[in-house]
Each structure stands twice: as C-alpha cells, then as structure tokens.
C-alpha cells in the first residue's frame, strides 16, 4: 500500500466534502427562517462546491489510473503523521483496544463521492421547484444537507464504528424525510416503519462488529484486512466466526438496501416527497448496503458469498414480479429499485465485484432520473400518482417524456445505454459463477436464471409504465391539461438522462459500443494478492464469449415487445390474461401476501389481544413488520406490566396491612377495665413463679 500518494492535506480536503453540507445544515436549521428565499440556496451551493471537490479527487484518483491503488488510510503507521483521532480512550497505552477515527480513500470511494454529491446537488436544484410553497420549505433543505453530510461521512469513514455512526445518521435523516409531511398519519407511520426495519438490520451489523472487535481488538478496516490475512492463512481456510461476522454485517446491508426479508419499508417510504425518494430511496442511501458489502468485500468467506448471492438474486426476481402489477407510478419504481439492488448484491455474491459496483453507479444515475421524471409527471398531473388516470402525456410533457424514455432504456439494459454494460457484466458474472460454482454447485444455477428472468420482467414493467403514462388517450381531466414543469426541474432530468447514456462507457468518444474495455472495471478491481482463494470473474466476459451479451439483449427486447403488445397495441388484453393466470395473478397483485403474512402470524395475534386493552391504537398499527416487533413486545410487556403492578406492589402493601392487623391485636388487651388489668397482672405473677420454680 503506497502511503505517500495521498498526503494529510489531501485527507484534510477530503474531510471538507462532508463538512460543507454539515455547515449548511447548521446554518439552515438555526438561521434558515430569516435567510432570503428561506435559505434554500445555502445547501445547494454547499453541495455544488462539494461536487466540485469530489470530481477533483475523482480525477486525481483516475489520474493515477492504477487499479492496484488500493486503500489509502489517513491512519498513519506508527511514527508517521496522519489525520487520525483516538476516539474512545485518549490516554490509553498504544496496545490497548481503542477506536481511532481515520479517513479512507480508494477508487471506490472516489466514485461514490461523485455519485453522492452529484445526485444530491441535482436533487437540491430539483427540490427548489418541487417543494415550492411548502410550509416547512427551509427545514426540507436542512434535512437534505444533513443527509448528504452523513452519506458522505459514511463513504469516507475508515473505521467500521464511524461507518455505523453515519449509517444510523443516514437512517435518522431518512426517517425525518419520509415523515416530512407528518400531518399525514401514513407518512409518520412510514417513517417509523423505515427506521425500525433498518434498525433491526443495524443491530445485526453491530453484533457483527462486536465479534470482529473481540477477535481483532480494533474496527479499523485496513488493520482488519491485515489481521484477516494472517488468521485465514492468506485467505485459504476461513474460520467459522469470520463467516458468522460476515453474514451479520450483511444483515445491516439487507436492512438498509431493502433486501428480501426487510424490504417492506421501501415501498411505504414513497410517502415522502419525490426528491427524497430520488436521492435517498433510489441512489444513495439504499446503495449504502451495497457499498458496505463492496468496502468490506475481503471479509466475506466463500460460504458467506453464497448466501449473499442467493438473497440478492431472489430479491431481484421477487421484486421484479411484484413490480409488474403495481398501479402507483412511484411504487413501480420502488419495487424496481428493490429488484436492481438485488442485482447488485447478487453480482457481489457471485464474485462480479466491479460489475456489481458499476451497476451501483449507473443505477444511481438513471433511477434518480426516473424518480425525478415521475416527480415532474406527478407535479404536472397535480399530485395524481395512479397510472390508470394518466395517458397521452407524450405531447403535453415532451422533455419529461424523452428523458424518461432514455432512463427507462438504460434501466432495461438496451445496448448503447449505461444500464446495458453493467447489467450485461453482472449476467456474465452470474453465468461464470454457475459454471465454476463454489461448494454447492447446483445452487449457483439459481442466480443466473433469476437475474435473466428479472431482466425480462424489468423491461416489461418499465415499458408498461411508459405506455400507460405517455401513450394512449388521457384518462382523466388532470391528464387533459397536464403541463410541462419549470426549467429548474427539467434541467436535472436532462443531465441525468445524459449520464444514463454515457456514464458506463462514453461510446460517443471511444466508440466501444459492446463495452470490451470499460473504464470502471479497470479502476475499481480486486488487488491480485486476494485473487487466489476467490472466484475471479474479471476475465469472465472473454471466457464466455458472446452468450451473455445475446441473452440479455434478447430478453430485454422480448420484454419491451410484450409490454407493447399488452398496452400499446392492446392485441392481448391485460385483464383477460390476468383471469387466465387466476390465483398466481392475485398472489402477485397482493405482493405475495408478505405484508399479510407478517400481519397474520406476527401482528394480528398480538394486536387482537392487545386492542382489547387499547382499541384506540388498533387502526393505527395494522400493517408493517415494525408493528409486528412492537406488538410482539407489547404483548410481553402487558404481562409484565400486570406482574409489576400486582405481585411486587402487592407485597409492599401487604406489609402495611399486616402491621395494621397486628396493631389491632394490641388494642384487644387495652380494654380500659381495671379489674381485667389486675387479672392479667396476677396471671403474669403466677406464670413467673411457675417458670422460676420449674427451671431453677
């Protein structure tokens, strides 16, 4: 690891990137109300500068263009000066376990910095238009700035503990932003649900960190990797606790990136304003889970990777199937995000390290674009989100239509668009994993199949959205006089559409249409010494030749054709096919009854029992796994509340009662009659005499 490439001054400048939004947040929170235009320009300019800095560092890292430029940590080896802060114990002897704050930079960080600052800046600009006239306009920008600070902090932190600190701060800001219009009970509840679900994941992650801290006495990523090297004998045989720790850390990623069991909060998170959905629930926060897996990749043992691949691919397929039957435009995009995240996780699981992270970058751009475009559609349609009332917006909102079309094509993986290059690499990786699978050979077939089918479904439901929204006749009077959104909203759309085209491989300049020499895998890749025990995928493309390429293009076009048939040409009527598929359609329509399952087996038994106690809450707590946990808890506490009141308090009052009773006995003797007194005395004397007589 070449320590001298980045000097302390560079790391100090790096810290400036998160410092800018933090300053903006502080200014906005305390003085936002009195600033001109309620201070929306403060966070926006701050993000602008942060973007410039991020791009600067990106170019510096690309300038070096050396994939072996592995992790640079600001935590100096003993003797060197560096930017680090002994966080837990200042005066502890050097050997003792301690947590030291340090900045960490490598090519992955460079890319993530650009992605986060870029999307955040565009969302800030977009929000100026979108949030116009909102009662708490200033505070929205403050929360956006706080989110950006914590996301950037997460990306830069070199110590797992600080990664977790920023991780939870990101969760907090998503809670605040989802529940931004907290007058709406559904919004407040969605925030609550999001925070608790991610909290469950974070708690798993914390447990993983505990195990690591026990064994390595530190949470600094670089030192962990060095010590990991020694314990696993250069990554050949993996001890059990490493797999366990890896899977627990992955729990955090499952919670944050809405993978299968903990995905239910993301669709409800759409209650928040659309820029929030774009920034947080499409591009950055949900990507944090993938980033964590990417950053900590060395730590995952082959068996852990197997589990990650399975979870990722299942989520991709599962979410894509549900996405097909959604009618709310934002929920379609939400399930599509869950599916694409499944793609990235599956890619990393299958060993396609750089493919997965490239997809993260490209997905960030076009998914953010899609959300912003759907936002402008919603604004155009006066806050109408149901696609059945839309139609024929092509002529009324041309810019939104064209930018949305580009982003949709990118998402479906059509060649020439960014999505194709990253998705194709992932499918290639999956194929490779299927062929060279690790321990459980037949299991590895599942990711490949699932990802291909999901790709088809993705293009089907995306184009279903396009045809329902922009083609055909306007189906409601809102759709009649929909109008284009102002320039502050459309410019970000256009920038994102451009990135959706050229971010993966700038084919206009180097003409590499089929993506043989993409810049991303060249920059973000594995260091060789780790190669040995791992599934190396980088050269997979050549090995399998053109098969994955043809497969992905065919499947994408097939999906588009089907959507065209169903919704544009109406050769096949959607309703008739739905009837034919019968129960399967109903299952898919109801999101595979996951929410209902959670409701039935976890929430309802507790709620019914509990609402006998407090009916007022019943309506409030119906859905969501969070309530399941809460209600499960209340059931136990209801019992302990009773135990507490009757048993323990009972004993204390009983003592008081017995004292009163004994008091009563004492009063019996005090009759007030003199002769009885004398009788008692005489008896006492007699008793005394007898006692002395016998015992003497």
């Amino acid at each position: 690891m070449d320590w001298h490439t980045f000097t302390t001054v560079d790391f100090a400048w790096m810290l400036a990137i998160p410092a800018l939004p933090l300053a903006a947040f502080v200014i906005q929170i305390f003085f936002g109300r009195w600033l001109p235009r309620k201070g929306d320009w403060v966070p926006t300019t701050a993000m602008g500068f942060a973007l410039v800095l991020a791009v600067g560092f990106f170019l510096k890292a690309m300038g070096i263009f050396d994939p072996t430029l592995y992790i640079q940590s600001s935590n100096p080896p003993p003797g060197e000066t560096g930017l680090s802060l002994a966080w837990l114990f200042g005066n502890a002897p050097s050997g003792a376990p301690n947590i030291v704050f340090s900045v960490l930079f490598d090519n992955l960080t460079a890319v993530m910095l650009v992605v986060v600052t870029g999307v955040s800046f565009l969302v800030h600009v977009y929000s100026i238009g979108y949030m116009e006239g909102d009662k708490r306009y200033g505070r929205f920008f403050a929360y956006l700035a706080l989110f950006s600070f914590s996301m950037l902090g997460l990306v830069l932190s070199g110590n797992l503990l600080f990664l977790m600190v920023f991780w939870e701060l990101v969760g907090l800001t998503s809670y605040l932003l989802i529940g931004f219009w907290f007058e709406k009970p559904s919004a407040a509840h969605a925030g609550f649900k999001a925070f608790i679900t991610t909290r469950i994941g974070d708690v798993g992650m914390l447990l993983g960190f505990l195990i690591i801290f026990k064994h390595f006495q530190t949470l600094d990523i670089v030192t962990i990797f060095q010590k990991l090297g020694e314990t696993t004998g250069d990554f050949q045989h993996w001890p059990g606790w490493v797999t366990a720790a890896g899977l627990l850390v992955f729990c955090g990623a499952v919670g944050k990136s809405a993978q299968f069991p903990l995905h239910i909060w993301l669709p409800d998170a759409m209650e928040g304003p659309t820029p929030v959905s774009a920034l947080i629930h499409a591009a950055t926060m949900v990507a944090a889970g993938v980033y964590l897996v990417g950053r900590f990749y060395l730590f995952f043992s082959p068996s852990a990777l197997l589990v990650i691949a399975m979870v990722g691919s299942f989520t991709a397929l599962f979410a894509a199937v549900i996405g097909v039957c959604q009618w709310d435009i934002k929920r379609v995009l939400a399930y599509s995000t869950v599916s694409q995240l499944g793609y990235m996780i599956a890619a990393l699981g299958c060993g396609a390290y750089s493919a997965g992270l490239m997809h993260l970058m490209t997905h960030a751009w076009f998914k953010a674009g899609l959300f912003l475009q759907s936002g402008s559609v919603i604004i155009g349609m006066h806050h109408e989100q149901d696609m059945r009332h839309m139609g024929g917006l092509r002529k009324k909102m041309p810019i939104t239509f064209w930018t949305m079309l580009i982003c949709t094509l990118a998402l479906c993986g059509i060649p020439l668009f960014a999505g194709f290059y990253s998705k194709d690499a992932i499918i290639a990786g999956a194929m490779h994993a299927a062929a060279h699978g690790g321990p459980a050979l037949w299991l590895w077939y599942f990711p490949a199949i699932a990802l291909v089918v999901a790709a088809g479904l993705t293009s089907f439901y995306m184009f279903r959205l396009i045809f329902l929204t922009f083609y055909g006749e306007p189906r409601s009077e809102h759709a009649e006089h929909a109008h284009e959104t102002p320039w502050t909203m459309t410019v970000p759309l256009m920038v994102l559409a451009a990135l959706a085209l050229f971010s993966a491989s700038p084919w206009i300049f180097n003409g590499d249409v089929l993506g043989h020499h993409l810049w991303f895998p060249h920059v973000v890749a594995h260091p060789e010494k780790v190669e040995a025990g791992r599934l190396v995928v980088e050269k997979a493309a050549e090995e399998h030749g053109v098969l994955p390429l043809v497969m992905s293009i065919l499947v994408a076009l097939g999906g588009i054709f089907l959507a065209w048939a169903f919704y544009y040409k109406k050769w096949l009527s959607a309703e008739e096919w739905a009837r034919k598929m019968g129960w399967f359609y109903k299952a898919v329509y109801n999101k595979f009854y996951v929410d209902e399952f959670v409701m039935k087996f976890i929430v309802r038994p507790v709620v019914f029992h509990w609402n006998v106690a407090c009916a007022a809450f019943d309506k409030y707590v119906i859905d969501g796994i969070v309530n399941a946990v809460g209600r499960g808890g209340v059931e136990a506490s209801e019992g302990s509340g009773w135990f507490d009141k009757y048993v323990i308090d009972g004993i204390v009052n009983a003592v008081g009662f017995t004292v009163q009773v004994f008091g009563g006995i004492a009063r019996l003797f005090q009759t007030g009659f003199l002769d009885q007194y004398l009788a008692f005395t005489a008896a006492a004397i007699a008793l005394g005499a007898v006692l002395f007589f016998f015992f003497l």
């Binding site: 004292v659 004492a666 004398l678 005395t681 007699a686 005394g688 002395f692 003497l696």
Partner: protein, 568 residues
C-alpha cells in the same frame, strides 16, 4: 461525739436531697403564708423558719465542703436565702392575683432545683476521682452511677416545673402540686442511690404516692380522676406484691443490705427451697417492672398517661421510668448472684423486652390521641433499653464474692440512652402541650396542617420524632446505635433484628404525626386561638438543639455516661 461527727459528715454526701427537702418546706411555707391570715405571728413564724433553714443550709454547706475537701462558696447560700425570705414576706404585697399564685411556688422550686443541681455537680466532680463512691448511713451508696440519675431527676424537675408554669389547665392548688412534685423527686433521689431493701421500698412508696396524687390533680376532669384511681389501685397491688418479694429475698439473702444479700446468695446451693426462690424472684421482678411499665405490667401506662395532666405525664414517662431502671440494675445485680439465677433473669428480661418493643410499636399505630401514642412509644423504648440491660447481664461474668464484672461500655450505652430518652421525651411532651394548647385538643385529627401555623414548635417536634425513630443526625440515632452494638456484642442478635424491624414499624406512627402537621395546606387547618408563653417555645427549641447537638457530637454526653457507668 465522734460518731455524731461522722454522721454529720456523712450528711454532706446527700446534699442535693436535703436541699430539695428544704425547697419543699419553703413551698409549703409560701402556700401557708399566702393563704393564711396576714397577721403578726405568721410574719414572725416565717422569719424564724427561714432563718433556721438558712443556718441549716449554710452549716450543711460547710460540712459538705469539709467532706469534699473543697471550700464551698458560702456567699451563695446567704444570697439564696435572702431572695427566698424576700419572696416569702414581701411577695404577698407585690405578687398579687391568681397569675402570681401559679408562678411564685414555681419560682421557688426552680431556685431549689438549681441549688440542688449545683451541689450534685459538685458531688459528680468530687466522685470523678473514685467513681465507686462511699456508702452513707449504711443505707445509701452515693456513687457516680446514682449521682448521674440524680442529675437526670433534677433536670426533669426543672423542665416539668417550667411546663407546669405554662400549663393553663391547672386552676388552683399549686402549692400542693409543687409539694407532691418535689416529694416525688425526693423519692427518686433516695431510690436511685439506695443500697438497702428498706430504703428502696421507702423511696418507691414516696415516689408512687406522690405520683398517684399528681395523676389525679385536675379535680374537675373525670378522666384525671379515673387515671388516678387506676394508678393507685394498680400501683398499690404491684408494690404490695413487690414487698412480698422483698420479704422472701430477705429470707433467702439473710440481710437487708444488698451487698450482703449478694454475698450470701452466692454461697447457697443450687435448687435449694425452690418455691421461695421462684415466688420471691417473680414478685420482686414483677413489682419493679410495674414501675418501668414493661409489658406484662404495663396496663396502667396508656390510661394514666392520657388521663393525667400533661406535665405529670412527662414526669411519669421520664423521671420515674429512669429511676425504675436504676433500681432494676442494682437489684438484678444482686439477684444474679444466686446459683443459675442469672440466665433465668436475663432470658426473662429479654422476653419482656421483645414483648414491650413489639406491643409498644404495634399499639401506637392506631392511636389518634398524641399523648396515648407517646405512652405506647415509651413502652417501646422501655423494650429497647431492657434489650441493652439483658445484654449487659447476659455478657456479665461473675466477679469474686458478690460483685459483677460488667462490660462498662454496655452500661454506658444504657445510661447514654436514658439521657437521650429523657431529652427526646421532655421535648416531645412539651411540644404536645404547646400544640394541644393552641389546637384545643390532643387528637391528631384536629392537628391537620397546623405545622404551617406553628412552624417553630412543629419543626422542633419533627426533630424529636426523628430522634425517637432513630434517624441519623439526632441523639436518638446514636443512642440506638449504642444499644444495637451492646445487644449484638451481648449475643442477643435476634433481639437486635427485632428492634430494627420495630424501628421501621415505629416510622409509621411517628411520621403520621409529622405528616398530619405538614402535609396539609395551611388554610384548611383550625384557627389557632391562644398561644402558650414564648418561654415554652424557647425551652423546646433548646431541647431540640440539644437533641441535634448530641446527635452530631455525642462525645459530651457519652463521656459523662461513661464515667458514671464505671461505678457499676
């Protein structure tokens, strides 16, 4: 002539008693003079008697000083006599009206007590050299132990007189009242220092008879009459039984002098004439425990304390109890000599202590009349002290020939606690007089929220209650702390635990009073009509400060108790 000389010299040792007797005489004189016809011969009679008393006192002073080998300041006697004479003769002219009828005898008694106190302190310092002291007239043993109790008695006399002067319910007959009061204290003086069965009986009777009269002093109130009759009958029976016990002890012990009885009993064989011993022991202990109102013989205590006028109740609760304990310690020390008798007596005492502790505390729970509550609390405290006495004798090892080797620290704890008990109860009863006077009733239900109207006295009452419960910064806590230590050291751990449990019970009723006084807003409480004299409040505050002072720096009272305990 020399034997007479010796007798006269001995007189010096019982100085305080003589002074008290003189005071009683003077009080009688003052009453006679104020009521009697103002004629020449009565004036002359007064002159003669005062002169005789004066000469007697001064002569006594000289002999006393000779006995002690310390010059006594004669000028003091003359000054006191002058004051007395002026009071007696001219008083009639200036101190007219019934207000002064109440105060003049009181003032005389105060003067007498102070003088007796002066002598007693002199005796105490003289005895500090050899605490064993000398036996006087073969009847008395004037040692630091007995002088300590004499001091306690004098303090109680002082405070009770002050209370009576502020106690409005007594309408007339002040002369007789003070006469009986001084007589009772004279009885205590003799009882405490006596070493002879006869003198014990005489002292006890003097004390009892005068307290019967005192108990029934409020003629117009039937409750006082009832209290008196109960007291006299119960007292009569108990002292008769005790006397019978004494006669049997005399038979067994072969002599009337306690020391000889002890020596004689030590020699008797085990189990000889068990009937006499059993009955004698039971009667004696029964009679004595009537005096301190330990459980099997406590029945008179609550009724009499409630019925009698409050200053008398104070006297009964404080002085007569302390005297009772002094005698019990002396007699048990003697009876203990008997073969195998000691464990029997101590276990009996332990049982009595446990019973009185629990009975006292539980009984007090339901009381609404504060005096009756304090009566039960005094029974409980008797239990605590009996615990220490039992521990004292439990751990005692038989010395050679009729004397005991007793752990001085245990005796010291008993004396310290008696001192602490006196201060606490004087204060508590005084506060009850003050508040009952302004609230118009002794019933707690009428006292709601009075704490805000009489902040000083209620505050002081809370301090006394704290001390009675045994909460740290007070003398009561340190006293209890010593008692606990003696009990645990003496091996009566179960008694100590029972006492701890009782302390927690006692919290209930002591704080019922505090709660009643303070936890109700001021405006709901009864209007306060008349307030007793300010001097009363001053006395109470003084006692309160004393309670706190000895609580924080207990070494002062502790050293006094330690010195006097050495005599045992």
């Amino acid at each position: 002539m020399s034997q007479l000389q010796a007798y006269i010299k001995d007189l010096g040792w019982i100085g305080p008693e003589l002074v008290l007797a003189a005071t009683a005489l003077v009080v009688l004189l003052v009453e006679l003079y104020r009521r009697g016809r103002k004629s020449g011969w009565s004036l002359g009679l007064a002159l003669v008697i005062t002169l005789a008393a004066g000469f007697g006192l001064s002569w006594l002073g000289r002999t006393f000083s000779a006995a002690l080998g310390r010059p006594v300041d004669l000028r003091l006697d003359v000054a006191v006599l002058g004051l007395v004479y002026v009071l007696v003769t001219m008083g009639d002219l200036w101190f007219k009206g019934d207000k002064w009828d109440r105060l003049v005898p009181g003032l005389v008694v105060l003067a007498g007590t102070l003088l007796a106190g002066y002598y007693a302190v002199g005796l105490m310092s003289a005895l500090s050299a050899d605490p064993k002291g000398t036996s006087v007239f073969g009847l008395q043993l004037v040692d630091s132990y007995s002088v300590y109790f004499k001091l306690l008695a004098l303090v109680s006399l002082l405070v009770v007189t002050l209370f009576t002067m502020n106690y409005r319910d007594l309408k007339r007959g002040f002369g007789e009242y003070y006469l009986c009061l001084v007589g009772a204290h004279l009885g205590i003086m003799f009882l405490v220092s006596s070493n002879h069965l006869l003198l014990i009986y005489l002292g006890l009777e003097t004390l009892s008879l005068s307290s019967y009269l005192l108990a029934g002093f409020r003629k117009e109130d039937p409750r006082s009459a009832e209290a008196a009759v109960k007291y006299v009958i119960y007292g009569g029976v108990a002292s008769a039984i005790m006397l019978f016990g004494f006669s049997l002890i005399f038979g067994l012990g072969g002599s009337l002098d306690l020391v000889e009885i002890g020596r004689h009993l030590a020699g008797t064989a085990q189990g000889s004439n068990r009937v006499l011993v059993g009955l004698g022991m039971a009667c004696t202990l029964g009679g004595l425990s009537y005096k301190i109102a330990a459980v099997p013989f406590h029945f008179w205590c609550p009724d009499v304390y409630e019925g009698a006028p409050t200053p008398v109740t104070t006297f009964l609760a404080v002085a007569s109890k302390a005297a009772g304990f002094a005698v019990i310690v002396r007699i048990v020390a003697v009876l203990g000599q008997g073969p195998g008798w000691l464990e029997k007596v101590t276990s009996l005492m332990a049982v009595a202590s446990a019973l009185s502790m629990t009975y006292g505390n539980l009984g007090a729970l339901h009381q609404t009349n504060v005096k009756r509550l304090l009566a039960y609390s005094s029974i409980a405290h008797v239990g605590y002290i009996l615990m220490a006495v039992a521990a004292l004798f439990g751990a005692a090892t038989a010395g050679e020939g009729g004397t005991f080797h007793v752990d001085p620290r245990a005796a010291e704890s008993i004396l310290y606690y008696l001192g602490a008990y006196m201060i606490m109860n004087l204060g508590a009863f005084g506060a009850v007089i003050y508040i009952a006077k302004s609230a118009g009733s002794e019933d707690m239900d009428d006292w709601w929220g009075l704490g805000w109207k009489l902040p000083v006295v209620s505050g002081v009452l809370v301090i006394f209650l704290l001390s009675l419960t045994g909460i740290p910064p007070t003398v009561g806590f340190y006293g209890k702390w010593l008692l606990f230590r003696t009990a645990i050291a003496g091996g009566f751990l179960w008694l100590a635990v029972l006492a701890a449990v009782n302390t927690v019970f006692s919290l209930f009723y002591y704080f019922k009073v505090a709660k009643v006084l303070f936890l109700k807003p001021a405006e709901e409480s009864r209007g306060v009509t008349v307030r007793p004299a300010a001097v009363m409040a001053v006395v109470l505050v003084a006692l309160g400060l004393l309670t706190l002072f000895f609580g924080v720096l207990p070494s002062a009272l502790e050293s006094l108790a330690g010195a006097s305990a050495a005599a045992l």
